[in-house]
Symmetry: C2
Subunit: 119 residues, 2 copies
DNA sequence: GCAATTGGGCACCTTTTGGTAACCGGAGGG
DNA sequence: CCCTCCGGTTACCAAAAGGTGCCCAATTGC
């Protein structure tokens, strides 16, 4: 019997050898990541629109975040070859599914805003 | 007209002056935070049980995380004055509600484990 | 020609986060 | 008396994350 990683950790993805849950959590650990997805729930937005909507995020971090979301298939990047060469970002189906879950966290936060710290 | 913070940012909690959503997101940004809540969804656990279940978390980080969750009213700390003076941790109602949402993220991760990276 | 807009990239720095290892204190066992 | 278990705490260090400021390229408007 070969004692494989799969035997010891059956939750690991057989293809990538990583834990899909861990990957997802890592994806959402950024300071602004969830907010980016939440913004995009309202529809496609341009890069600079996002920087303004998120209030405080730097362009560096936003580009990095969007690229990571794109790699993970949560967000689609659309180059408009129109006048201003602006770039649109919108959620994929996967991204929208995850965004819907995040919306529940937003709702939970509002529902428990009473004595949130219960001090 | 006094232009108050409430007028400019109506999502701020009128009592604490903080954004409840931001506070929640900050609560979940830790590397192990969501996993801790997920563990406790199965029921009360002792401190060392958690360190073993989480595989890799240090006692320092786990204590800090549990204290933060306790301050936020997600987790209850129960000192057992029995032989081994062990300490139990369990979810409050609030904590269980949030844990249920996190479970959906776990489910999402499993559902999208096919080509998660879509490289 | 010159400035502004848009979406980046890059170098540098600070802050945050997490791990390691050591120590502690009370209870129990031998 | 000494050792072990449990739940911490502390000091120290490394890595990750994020912000700032500067540069760049293509295009439009003046």
């Amino acid at each position: 019997m070969k004692d494989t990683a799969q035997d010891r950790q059956p939750w690991l993805d057989p293809v990538t050898g990583t834990c899909p849950v861990g990957e997802t959590l890592r994806l959402l650990r950024g300071k602004h990541g969830p907010s980016v997805l939440h913004c995009l729930m309202a529809g496609e937005m341009h890069f600079l629109e996002l920087t303004r909507a998120l209030d405080g995020i730097s362009r560096k971090v936003l580009t990095a975040q969007l690229q990571e979301f794109e790699r993970s298939g949560l967000v689609a990047r659309i180059e408009k070859h129109d006048a201003r060469r602006r770039v649109g970002y919108s959620l994929t189906g996967k991204g929208a599914d995850l965004g819907a879950i995040l919306s529940q966290i937003f709702d939970w936060s509002q529902a428990h805003r009473d004595r949130a710290a219960t001090r």
